[in-house]
């Protein structure tokens, strides 16, 4: 089973990510019975079918897919994953903050894709609590990336008050 970082610990991951291979369509792709993280397109096309299973639902958003598309569905999800096609594509940070701070999503928020140690601190601050560190990397070593800095200036998903409101307290 794949291992991920979740809530600052390395754990086994029971979920499976569904992707569309060449020729597959959202309508035709096979979705596992349980613990499937489906692409947004599959969710939008087969929401009723997935919900009818009565299993915890998971969806993943690609970098260009904002949270607006699932804002009304958040109560259905046990897990939302945000894909980083390249670690230097920073759109997922905004997606995460919006899910947490604007839409009030409180389930698992997982970074997937090109997820590396040196970005984990920023991801954590933006509201991620699970990280599928890229498979070729040492996940135990990457764990240190979550605690890189002792303090931060800005308000974000992990800390609603900017430093200046705490500094002067």
């Amino acid at each position: 089973m794949t291992r991920i970082i979740k809530n600052k610990r390395i754990v086994d991951d029971p979920w499976r990510i569904v992707t569309l291979a060449g020729g597959e369509t959202p309508e035709s792709v096979e979705v596992p019975e349980t613990r499937a993280i489906v692409p947004l397109s599959v969710w939008l096309a087969r929401k009723d079918e997935i919900l009818a299973r009565g299993e915890p639902a998971g969806v993943w958003l690609d970098a260009h897919e904002g949270p607006e598309a699932i804002a009304a569905d958040l109560a259905h999800f046990a897990l939302i994953a945000v894909n980083f096609p390249k670690f230097s594509d920073g759109r997922g940070y905004s997606t995460a903050r919006l899910l947490r701070e604007r839409h009030g999503y409180s389930g698992e928020l997982r970074a997937i894709g090109d997820v590396l140690q040196d970005q984990l601190y920023f991801m954590k601050r933006c509201g991620f609590d699970a990280y599928a560190v890229r498979a070729d990397k040492d996940i135990a070593a990457a764990l240190a990336g979550l605690e890189e800095f002792p303090e931060s200036y800005q308000a974000a998903a992990d800390q609603p008050l900017p430093l200046f409101r705490r500094r002067s307290a």
Binding site: G66, Y93, F164
Partner: protein
């Protein structure tokens, strides 16, 4: 100036430790070069033509004598005994060793400095008016705003990987000396009118310009908000950056700056999207408090000035008696808001020297001058000179003598030989052509001090490539290196200017070989000399006559002149990609 507290210090220390770990992992083979690259750039570490280059951040250009001495020390111990002041108020070390960069960052941290976000697709070093706090035409000091923005932008978790770099400049004076209209985001401090929706008329806030920039596709920034109350500074900028982070283009490096997004949407639509986003955070916890503003502003309180008469007799008599001193003072001494004081620009454009380069010995001399005569602080300027902002008029002669002994008193500030110039192809991995030899050739041709004085104020800005670090778009005369079949060629642009009437220069025609550049500049100058009216500056004459008179002379006797206008049109297209 701002001083770190324990929290600021711990954050910078943690950043150094992180960099040290990244370098170690890279050397151990567990962090690939392409994975290190974006994160090392965010600590100012480039890999250039001959090896690493380290760009050290100098927030809004403000340095203490202690810090400058440390830079001198670092340049001696870790480099070749000199540094380069850039047009973005940073210092570049051109010969550091890759594996020694963590040690350099440690040294910097010991004097409250760092290289955080001096490069990379993130919010960069924030710049301000070189005369901040002392200019007679200033409404409010921009430095507290800059420092508040520095802290907010430092390690901002959401905006570490923007589509492209993002640069902010703040001006607090009537005249724009911070080039705010050529920045991704330009902030002009202003006073509220009656209908501005602030706490009331007279409140200080910000006028917001967006989408300016140089590079391949130059744009003058557009006004997107006429008045933003100060307390909304951070929530509004966060909304603006979020719109850019989400919707700025990432498919093409050359179209990824915010100027492209703003122009694709139109500034009204961009502003509307920002306002829509801002509605969610407006008046929320990130709203700037008066208490925080006052805490930061207190660090920029005026130094303990003496009470002095307006005109110092010793200064007046030195000017009357010493023509060389008088010529320097005319260019280098600037009005100050406090009676009996002056701001002084020390030129880093001595003949035969690469513009902006400064030796360790000069750094120490500058530190000494600041300590003795200007409350221990200095400012860098985007023209790549150094300002002592608070000199007693009675000390000006002594400052001049000491500066002169270190090659820091060239009387050319604002004149043709005070050119802005990037490091160019001698060092930079991006450059298409060398810029420093062109600068030196022009200096040599226009070396006569009386001749320079006669020509008056004119800006000559030289970039080694389209990235425009040498600000060629806003030079009265701009020179830009281009690559034609692996050969160095140079395009000339004319009519650019900075300030309140910011304008982007126009390409004059087909490009020139390096040895032709001084001749062409000579030709442009000749048109000005012949046709100026009274006290007109070069730019005034240019705007009155138009480009044709200059174009014609530039190509007179050159074969390319025959097709100048056709080829010029082709180059204009190149300019916009």
């Amino acid at each position: 100036m701002y001083r770190y507290d324990n929290i600021d210090r711990r954050i910078v220390d943690a950043r150094v430790a992180q960099h040290r770990g990244q370098i170690a992992r890279n050397l151990a083979g567990t962090l690939a070069d392409e994975e290190l690259r974006p994160v090392r750039l965010q600590n100012g570490l480039y890999i250039e033509r001959h090896g690493p280059m380290l760009r050290i951040a100098i927030p809004y250009g403000l340095l203490s004598s202690t810090q400058l001495r440390k830079l001198a020390d670092i340049s001696r111990r870790y480099d070749r005994g000199y540094g380069h002041f850039t047009t973005r108020l940073n210092m570049q070390l051109n010969w550091p060793k890759f594996e020694e960069t963590p040690a350099i960052l440690d040294e910097l941290a010991s004097v409250e400095m760092h290289a955080i976000q001096s490069s990379g697709a993130c919010i960069r070093n924030i710049t301000a008016d070189k005369f901040a706090g002392v200019a007679p035409d200033e409404l409010a000091d921009p430095r507290p705003y800059c420092e508040i923005l520095r802290q907010w932008s430092t390690l901002h978790p959401e905006f570490a990987f923007l589509p492209r770099k993002f640069k902010i400049a703040v001006n607090g004076a009537a005249e724009d000396r911070a080039m705010i209209r050529m920045y991704d985001l330009g902030l002009q401090l202003t006073r509220a009118g009656s209908g501005d929706g602030g706490d009331g008329a007279g409140e200080i806030g910000l006028r917001v310009f967006v989408g300016g920039g140089m590079g391949r596709t130059p744009f003058v920034g557009q006004l997107m908000r006429d008045f933003l109350p100060r307390r909304h500074l951070l929530t509004y900028l966060e909304a603006l950056l979020r719109v850019y982070n989400r919707y700025g283009r990432r498919d093409n490096l050359y179209k990824a700056r915010i100027k492209i997004l703003v122009n694709a949407l139109g500034v009204e639509e961009f502003a509307r999207q920002v306002e829509e986003e801002w509605a969610f955070s407006r008046d929320g916890p990130a709203t700037l408090t008066d208490r925080e503003f006052d805490r930061v502003a207190a660090y920029f309180a005026p130094p303990p000035y003496q009470s002095l008469p307006a005109g110092d007799p010793a200064f007046a008599s030195a000017v009357a008696q010493d023509k060389t001193f008088a010529a320097w003072a005319e260019r280098s001494v600037h009005a100050h808001r406090v009676s009996g004081y002056a701001a002084v620009t020390l030129s880093l454009k001595a003949p035969g020297k690469a513009p902006g380069d400064v030796t360790a010995g000069q750094m120490e001399a500058l530190a000494e001058l600041a300590e003795r005569y200007s409350f221990g602080e200095l400012r860098l300027t985007h023209e790549q000179n150094v300002v002592l902002a608070d000199v007693r008029q009675g000390d000006l002669f002594a400052v001049w003598q000491k500066a002169r002994a270190h090659g820091l008193a060239t009387a050319n500030v604002g004149l043709l030989s005070d050119m802005i110039c990037c490091p160019g192809g001698d060092l930079c991995g991006l450059a298409y052509a060398r810029s420093v030899p062109v600068a030196l050739a022009v200096q040599e041709r226009f070396g006569d001090p009386d001749d320079l004085r006669d020509l008056g104020e004119i800006s000559l800005n030289i970039s080694g490539c389209v990235n425009s670090c040498g600000h060629h778009h806003v030079g009265n005369i701009g020179v830009i290196g281009i690559d034609k079949n692996d050969e160095e060629w140079y395009q000339i642009v004319v009519g650019g200017r900075q300030g309140n009437a910011t304008a982007i220069g126009k390409v004059i025609g087909p490009s020139f070989a390096a040895e032709e550049v001084p001749e062409v500049i000579d030709a442009l100058i000749a048109v000005y000399r012949e046709r100026r009216n009274g006290g007109e500056r070069f730019i005034d004459t240019f705007e009155r006559l138009g480009i044709e008179a200059f174009r014609e002379r530039a190509y007179a006797g050159r074969e390319r002149g025959k097709t100048a206008s056709e080829q010029g049109a082709a180059h204009d297209q190149d300019h916009q990609e």
